[in-house]
């Protein structure tokens, strides 16, 4: 829109063209954690509120007209960028299948105990961590990071667990001997 470049902003203190103003607004809305009020944009960009408001209307209309996957709309007293409702299934599907190398701290701790102490039973993990780990174990089994390694020959014959091949792959290890040891860390302390 080269014509608009020639049209100076006469409202606020800003010296932006209309296109530049819309572009800056787009960036601010994008980085904001919360719906962004017009007055905040006016302050940050040092522009007139009316100029911001009308740029927003245009921007929002452009998103709507472009068959974009995103929309810019006014919500809760501010402006926000979000995905369009027609994509909610795809988005939900995506969020469900996020990369599985992500673990909660509890699961990470449980996995650490299993990695370094395998084969190990649930009571032994409890003994070491001092916390129940049942749900972490389930998570780790679901993510195929651990596998059962038969039963231990003690009272109650508890199931033993060890790390899986997927564990090695996810953590970039050739084999278990590549797990870092105390010695590797002593190098850092000096």
């Amino acid at each position: 829109m080269p014509d608009e470049k020639a049209e100076p902003n006469t409202n606020g203190g800003g010296s932006r063209s209309r296109a530049e103003l819309k572009s800056a607004i787009e960036a601010l809305i994008f980085v904001s954690d919360e719906p962004l009020p017009v007055r905040t944009m006016a302050r940050v960009l040092d522009e007139d509120k009316d100029a911001i408001a009308s740029a927003l209307e245009e921007l929002s209309a452009e998103y709507a007209g472009r068959e974009s996957g995103l929309q810019i709309r006014e919500i809760g007293g501010g402006w926000q960028m979000s995905t369009r409702t027609e994509h909610h299934e795809e988005v939900r599907e995506f969020l469900k299948t996020k990369p599985s190398a992500k673990l909660s701290l509890a699961s990470l701790e449980t996995l650490a105990v299993i990695a370094y102490k395998q084969p190990v039973t649930i009571p032994e993990i409890l003994e070491i961590r001092g916390v129940q780990s049942a749900s972490s174990i389930k998570t780790l089994l679901d993510k195929r990071l651990i596998v059962s390694r038969g039963r231990k020959d003690t009272v109650g014959k508890p199931m033993q667990y060890g790390t899986s091949r997927d564990f090695l792959i996810q953590f970039g290890l050739k084999d278990l001997s590549e797990l870092p040891s105390i010695e590797d860390f002593e190098e850092f302390v000096g």
Partner: protein, 259 residues
């Protein structure tokens, strides 16, 4: 990437350089920075002496280098081992340079310049310093780019992505926790219940009566106190003893019953 504070990096590449700063007439300050090692110092000296890196005047540079080391020592700056190793290397090169070149009697190719290995190292080092600088430029450009703010779906995912070192650290933390526990247990073993009971019995035999208040006050720790209390109960249960309290809330005495 939603938290710019933890994600952005800053480098002050230009501000740290090996240099000697004269603070006042009688004080020299050596600014080498954490990043400066012997190779940096050498490069600095070569540049300052306006020498050619491919034809280092070893004698002069070695003297300067040693001067700096001595100054560091004078200023009580701990001279790291690698600086001393480099000093030794320089002295060695210097002495080899002083040796008369043996005429290549056997007509073999010329003996290698004793400085060659050092020059190679300096060049290699220099290359990586430039590489670091180019990384810095890239990161600076990248810092002008921002990713989106938090959206609702981010909150559904309070997870961290883990590396093998996270795994190790998690394990270390548990082991540290565990070690403390073991130490506590060992401490607890210092006096067992059986020992406590034995002690009390022999005391009672000798003194015939024990003031419980005073006995409990003698206990060094909460754990010993509990042990003492249990021991008293045990003695009351198993021996012919009397617990005597003369007034309400008054001291309680443990007395051996006449048998």
């Amino acid at each position: 990437m939603t938290n710019p504070d933890t994600k952005q990096l800053e480098f002050d590449f230009k501000s740290v350089q090996a240099e000697i700063v004269r603070d006042s007439a009688d004080e020299l300050r050596l600014e080498l920075g954490e990043f400066a090692g012997p190779l940096d110092l050498l490069l600095y000296l070569i540049r300052r002496e306006e020498a050619n890196i491919f034809d280092i005047p070893v004698a002069r540079i070695t003297d300067k280098y040693l001067e700096y080391i001595r100054m560091m020592e004078r200023l009580d700056i701990a001279v790291a081992g690698e600086f001393l190793v480099m000093a030794a290397t320089l002295i060695e090169i210097k002495s080899r340079m002083l040796l008369p070149q043996e005429p290549s009697a056997e007509g073999e190719e010329e003996a290698e310049d004793p400085r060659q290995e050092l020059v190679d190292r300096l060049l290699e080092h220099q290359k990586f310093k430039l590489a670091a600088e180019s990384l810095w430029t890239k990161a600076t450009v990248e810092q002008a780019v921002f990713t989106r703010g938090t959206i609702e779906t981010d909150d559904n995912n309070p997870e961290i992505s883990a590396t093998v070192f996270d795994l190790f650290e998690a394990f270390q933390k548990i082991m540290d926790r565990h070690k403390e526990q073991i130490q506590m247990e060992i401490h607890r073993e210092e006096m067992s219940l059986a020992e406590m009971i034995r002690n009390l019995r022999s005391k009672l035999k000798i003194e015939k009566k024990l003031n419980l208040q005073r006995l409990f006050e003698q206990m060094g720790s909460k754990r010993e106190l509990i042990l003492a209390f249990i021991s008293v109960l045990e003695i009351v249960r198993t021996e012919s003893v009397k617990l005597i309290q003369t007034d309400t809330f008054g001291d309680i005495t443990l007395e051996l019953a006449e048998s």
